[in-house]
Symmetry: C2
Subunit: 378 residues, 2 copies
């Protein structure tokens, strides 16, 4: 017996399986065309099932941010890049306890963090590949000059349990419309060139040069020296990605299915998807609101409470009725996935499958029970 | 063997147990002093353990937003108010399947939603108490005039499985500094008076009149006719609550413990708590940023990525070192709790206990497996 959208309890994230397949195809074709390696970031889907499909279609490995993501993805992949500073004893311990079969790469931007990493790797009887993270305009993390980056690389080379594996950058500041990215990409290309030259001169050629998030992914082949890209969002896409032209509106595969729960206040309809279902991410492009209705993109979620979203109907003639279901394209899909434990897969209006967001959460401080002994009351 | 904060894996929400106890005491004393009923909203903590403590200290019942919250709380409480429009077949079915021992109250703002609710209640062999939700300035949900509200109440009275139980409002628009709330509260009092008069004239006296969220909680006794308050945030408090004067900075019981993972870019330190740990809630008061450092409130989280938070150090002489732990007071604590599966309870620097955020998530569409049959591949 088939199940249809109308029978689903809301709010719930649903994925159009045909769109998902198209998005996976498109990126696989792009990297093949340009001879780039694809190491997708799993932060967007946090699901081994999607990761396995990415690997089947040619991805060389996976990128993770959290140790939880790495542990879960080790079930389907033996080449994991934890693109995150390896700082903190608990994080290091968890890192070197990943299954032996997994080749581990991490990113570091500070020589001061490497001693502890080297010791952890040695105690874990493993060699850890380290990429030096450089700041190419994002101003978040990353060495800020070729000299500083080389200093980190030399520290890596001196540790017997670490191996210098290349350079990493994250062009997260490039969110302009795809057609306007030219000058930003040229600047990035020049900056990266200085690092590559300095490393070549120092006799430390960068084997892997990894960059690229979804907004700039389709033009990464224009950056000389880049060997690998790490987009995440492209599997599902979202309103921001569509608005900047990195995908079409019809490529938005994930929507939050919601129900209209009140039409009492004039000029608006209230849905049961609020901050706890949609997040409160801004649209990083022209436009307002925290999401838009799939079939009526001119209707946006203009206000949010924890469990309420306000649809502003003043610019539309569409009037949803009480109890009607609507599909919301979120501004930032990675945040939405992180809010749910499960995704529903649909084709048209038919529910076809479901899968867990297995790497959601952190599963941290697991050994605390034995450490704290018997808890007292509150 | 004791465990200390320094040993914890981050990011992780930690609660100062002494502050929590103080916050619970303070609200219990306030409602006792003014003869109000306290029906705390569980959306803030989503933990039966905290709810049980609230009930032990005199709460008359609990308020929930989601059915997941109601199901979990039914383990510790038999008087549950689902302060949410009962719209949607799946939601109704789950509502009437709550344990028989539970007295159910819901809020409704539209007569059109009541027929389905009445049928569901009858099929579930139970009587459901319904409060009429009125809009007193929030402009989210709620009947917008005494006539409309009376119309809803008369519909309730006509259904044998429903019982009119009073009025509900949510003064979520009152977030001004506590000292400036006077005019807003006076307006609210006048508006509520019109509804109460209309209901008394119609021979439908409102038994329960329930209002009040944490920002306005301490002045709810000034609103004539209010019998019950439903604050949630007061158990943990947050930066917004402190900033508007509804609590002191030292009453902020929940912080997100984070680790400094990069100091490479000048004038900032990067911590491992980003949007996926702190949310992206604005400070609903004077001030900037997405949270502030507990011991250095002048240092705010000025930018967020999914797993990175940027501490702006330009206005401070404090310079945290790589690997150092910091405690962040979030702007909006309810969103932070919703992002984690577990809370760590501490006294001073010692870890004392932990409890699950048991009502997090939605556990929805449970019967889907049997409905969809064997899933196809992606």
């Amino acid at each position: 017996m088939a199940t249809y959208l109308e029978q689903l309890e809301t709010p719930v994230p649903i994925v159009d399986l045909d769109r998902l397949a198209h998005n996976l195809d498109r990126m696989a074709a792009y990297v093949t065309l340009h001879g780039l390696h694809l190491r997708p970031h799993v932060k967007t889907h946090k699901s081994p099932r999607i990761a396995a499909e990415q690997l089947r279609m040619g991805a060389v490995g996976l990128t993770c941010a959290t140790l939880r993501e790495a542990e879960i993805m080790s079930e389907v992949c033996d080449d994991l890049y934890i693109a995150y500073p390896p700082v903190g004893a608990a994080r290091l311990e968890r890192l070197v306890r990943l299954p032996e079969s997994v080749r581990i790469r991490v990113a570091a931007d500070d020589a001061a963090s490497l001693d502890a990493l080297a010791v952890a790797a040695r105690l874990g009887h493993r060699i850890v590949d380290v990429l030096v993270e450089v700041d190419l305009g994002m101003h978040r993390v990353g060495a800020t000059s070729p000299e500083k980056a080389l200093n980190v690389a030399r520290h890596i080379e001196r540790a017997s349990s670490l191996r210098f594996a290349g350079l990493q950058f994250y062009p997260g500041h490039i969110r302009a419309h795809v057609d306007d990215q030219g000058p930003l990409l040229q600047q990035l290309s020049r900056d990266l060139g200085q690092y590559l030259e300095a490393f070549a001169d120092a006799g430390l050629p960068a084997g892997t040069v990894t960059g690229g998030s979804t907004p700039a992914a389709w033009r990464m082949h224009e950056i000389r020296g880049v060997t690998e890209v790490r987009p995440g969002t492209y599997v599902y896409n979202d309103r921001t990605t569509a608005q900047i032209g990195a995908c079409d509106w019809d490529d938005c595969a994930l929507t939050v299915l919601a129900t209209v729960i009140s039409t009492s206040v004039k000029g608006q309809a209230v849905i049961d998807a609020g901050t706890k279902a949609l997040g409160r991410e801004p649209l990083r492009a022209e436009g307002e609101g925290f999401g838009a209705v799939l079939e009526h993109p001119d209707v946006v979620v203009s206000r949010l409470s924890e469990e309420h979203g306000i649809l502003d109907l003043t610019k539309s003639s569409w009037r949803p009725r009480l109890g009607e279901q609507v599909r919301i394209v979120p501004n930032h899909v990675c945040i939405v996935v992180h809010l749910f434990d499960e995704i529903i897969g649909v084709r048209g209006h038919a529910v076809e499958t479901r899968w867990p967001v297995a790497a959601r959460g952190r599963d941290s401080n697991r050994e605390l029970e034995s450490m704290t002994g018997r808890p007292r009351a509150i």
